[in-house]
């Protein structure tokens, strides 16, 4: 019998023993009934019930739990990268989704985490989101930031969008911004979505894709 199989006179008794031995709650394990108990013939050859318990990741119940799991995962990854940094959980003020949150990484010398055009940070965020979904079973959106870099960059981009839109309006000529990654182009598109006199579109491919602002 392998370590996670437990026997008892009834299935319930076997499960109870197993949970006690593993010291976990019932929802923290997957329960398989290997064998129902049988009485045997004439009281001979009867067999106890046998169950197999497999620990499963405890599924987070609320957004707050997800944030804590995410914080721990990110801190572990960073220390694994040789960058012991602190991670704080902040509310995501830019999202309408109230479950969304920001993990802000704090520490010295963290520009390596941002990378060229924020690419390293984007990869880190991508993996962290997948890992959190894998561990909690929840796909709650969160943002990974380094010393407020993203927040600052977002403000810059919104200011830039507004200034360029004013220029387009004034000269009735399209303006093309520098090449940006998808998340940054999205910020520009959203910033000008409600603008009555200009529209935006993305042009170019891959690394060279840019936002063009043009008169409506």
């Amino acid at each position: 019998m392998s370590q996670n199989e437990f026997s008892g006179k009834t299935v319930d008794e076997a499960i109870g023993k197993g949970l006690a031995e593993l010291g976990v709650a019932r929802d923290a394990v997957k329960i398989e009934i290997v064998r129902e108990p049988s009485r045997g013939l004439l009281g001979l050859g009867g067999e106890d019930a046998l169950v197999r318990l497999t620990r499963v990741q405890v599924v987070a119940e609320s957004a707050g739990d997800v944030a804590n799991v995410a914080q721990e995962i990110l801190e572990t990854v960073l220390s694994g990268m040789g960058l012991p940094a602190r991670v704080e959980i902040l509310p995501d003020v830019s999202s309408e989704d109230e479950d969304s949150f920001v993990l802000n990484i704090l520490g010295e010398d963290l520009s390596v985490l941002i990378g060229r055009r924020g690419e390293t940070l984007r990869d880190l965020e991508y993996l962290a989101r997948l890992m959190v979904t894998g561990k909690t079973g929840k796909s709650i959106r969160f943002i990974v930031d380094v010393e407020g870099y993203r927040t600052r960059r977002e403000r810059q981009l919104r200011d830039l969008a507004t200034r360029m839109a004013a220029r387009v309006e004034e000269h009735r000529q399209p303006v093309t911004l520098e090449a940006m990654p998808p998340n940054e182009r999205r910020i520009v598109h959203i910033a000008l979505r409600e603008h009555p006199r200009v529209k935006t579109q993305s042009i170019g491919e891959g690394d060279h894709r840019r936002v063009m602002i043009l008169p409506q």
Binding site: G80, M81, V112, L113, L130, M131, G134
Partner: protein, 83 residues
Amino acid sequence: MELDNLVAYIARALVEHPDQVEVNADERGGAITLELYVAQGDMGRVIGKGGRIANAMRTLVRVAAMREGKRVSLDVVTRVPGA
């Protein structure tokens, strides 16, 4: 945590069979070679569409290795069933 442990930690969170995750590391002359082994059915979970997940892992180990002046490569290998 060494880089093989980092890759194993990340991979285990992504796959259906964390117990099948294994990472071999080999270092020669400042170049680290990492081999990530996962169950056959988990390949897609660590490679991702167009290799996006594997590439994101490569980015992180590269940043970590660069801090020690080393180069690193990461390959994903499927475990042969029964082996």
